[in-house]
């Protein structure tokens, strides 16, 4: 018991590393704030394309794009971009490599969610909108996308939680986000309390979102309790 307290919940170490970890947390939040909008925008584009493209070849290309980036583990994608591009003669800044990797990965996930949402909007809505004189683009922006977004809200939240959790991968390319900072502090103090503290920070950040999502999901399954 003493050993657990000393190694996992060491208050004096907590106090010492808290400022660094908070800075790491801030980086995690900034990173999330950067990659989530990019992912959503790219995903919306992929979703809209997958319901509007009529050309067979274009559709096939899009399907391949989506499946390839759903199949590649995000860490593989990130390492590939970060360590592979220098061989092309480009030194990508870390942040750019991370943003590109996440955008490719997220565009296929958010894309599939938006596609499902757009398909769930009844045809009558579109026909009604068109017959009141809205153009196809106006219908898409004012009628289809808002309803689609509402219909797939739980999936969007769920994927967004996953994206925030994925920011830990940035530690693999030495980006000083929360997990990386905690790992460095652990080797510095020769005590794993910083990792435990980082885990507590992640819990505080993500637990409320997980709760909200649970409520949404039970509603969606039509739970009787």
């Amino acid at each position: 018991m003493d050993e657990i307290l000393k190694n996992f919940f060491n208050i004096s170490i907590y106090i010492e590393v808290a400022p660094f970890l908070l800075r790491g947390l801030l980086n995690t939040l900034l990173l999330s704030a950067l990659v989530i909008p990019f992912g959503l925008a790219a995903g919306l584009l992929v979703g809209v394309l997958s319901i509007t493209l009529k050309n067979r070849w274009a559709r096939a290309l899009l399907a391949i794009y989506i499946d390839v980036f759903r199949a590649l583990p995000p860490l593989v994608l990130l390492i590939f971009i970060y360590y592979g591009t220098p061989f092309l003669g480009w030194e990508l800044p870390k942040l750019l490599a991370i943003v590109i990797g996440f955008m490719l990965n997220n565009s296929s996930y958010y894309g599939e969610i938006f596609r499902a949402g757009l398909e769930s909007v009844p045809n009558g809505q579109i026909e009604a909108a068109r017959s009141t004189g809205l153009s196809a683009t106006q219908t898409l922006i004012h009628i289809q996308i808002p309803q689609a977004t509402r219909n797939v809200m739980p999936d969007l939240i769920s994927n967004t939680i996953e994206v925030i959790k994925l920011t830990t991968l940035a530690s693999a390319v030495a980006m000083p986000e929360l997990l990386r900072v905690a790992r460095d502090a652990q080797s510095l103090f020769y005590n794993p309390s910083p990792i435990v503290l980082a885990a507590i920070f992640y819990l505080l950040l993500l637990w409320p979102l997980v709760r909200i999502l649970s409520r949404f999901e039970h509603k969606k399954m039509g739970g009787g309790h």
Binding site: F87, A199, L203, M221
Partner: protein, 225 residues
């Protein structure tokens, strides 16, 4: 950059041949780990959901806490806790065990939530009717409630299993010689990006069939409200 240089650093047959055994070995580890994680996570998660259906308050409190914590923590944090922090309290494990255990726990938490939502979605009258015909609690669960719940859960379960098996790449961070780690070290040994390409192709070979399987189950067991 001219074409020859590009071929030399990305599609170098000599280097590809030299490191092929390493990459294949890594692929085997990835497949093995993915399979055991999927099995233990599914079994443990389903068992938790069934236990939760017993509606024992103190037990349910622990199950809900476990599920919430494991769904909120990034998997990489759990892996690092097990691999870097637990040795300080005299619990050491190999990189394979740490990755397996961490991913299984995370998967079990998600499986528990999905199955629980499925069980709750079966109207109460069903289990009451089953009990009143003389079936025991376990029988009514096995023959009446679970078969109805399963239909609703197949698609989300498959997606979750796919997502987790892709996370096996995280093992590379703690030095597990799976496909990403092997291709990365082959890259630094050879000073050439070809192994990285091979690793990415290896991942696609493993996960594209899995993604396609996921698509198939999604249409086969489409959500019916």
């Amino acid at each position: 950059m001219d074409l020859n240089a590009l071929v030399f650093s990305f599609f170098n047959l000599e280097i590809a041949w030299e490191y092929l055994p390493d990459i294949l070995k890594g692929m085997m580890v990835t497949i093995e780990l993915g399979l055991v994680v999927a099995i233990t996570g599914l079994v443990f998660g389903m068992a938790l959901a069934v236990l939760r259906a017993l509606l024992l308050r103190p037990l349910n409190f622990f199950i809900i806490c476990f599920a919430d914590i494991m769904r909120a923590l990034p998997p990489l944090v759990v892996i690092m806790m097990l691999f870097f922090a637990f040795p300080y309290i005299q619990i050491s494990m190999s990189a394979f065990t740490a990755t397996w255990l961490a991913l299984s726990l995370v998967l079990a938490a998600f499986v528990e939530e999905i199955c629980w939502a499925g069980i709750v979605s079966v109207p109460k009258g069903q289990s009451e009717a089953a009990r009143s015909t003389g079936l025991s609690w376990l029988q009514s669960m096995l023959y009446v409630v679970l078969p109805q719940a399963v239909r609703l859960t197949v698609a989300p379960l498959t997606n979750r299993v796919i997502a987790i098996t892709k996370s096996t790449a995280l093992g590379s961070v703690v030095g597990l010689s799976e496909v990403l780690n092997n291709s990365q070290s082959a890259m630094s040994n050879s000073g050439n990006a070809t192994p990285l390409i091979m690793g990415a192709i290896g991942c696609l070979l493993i996960f594209i069939p899995v993604v396609l399987l996921g698509r198939w189950t999604e249409t086969r067991f489409r959500w019916k409200q």
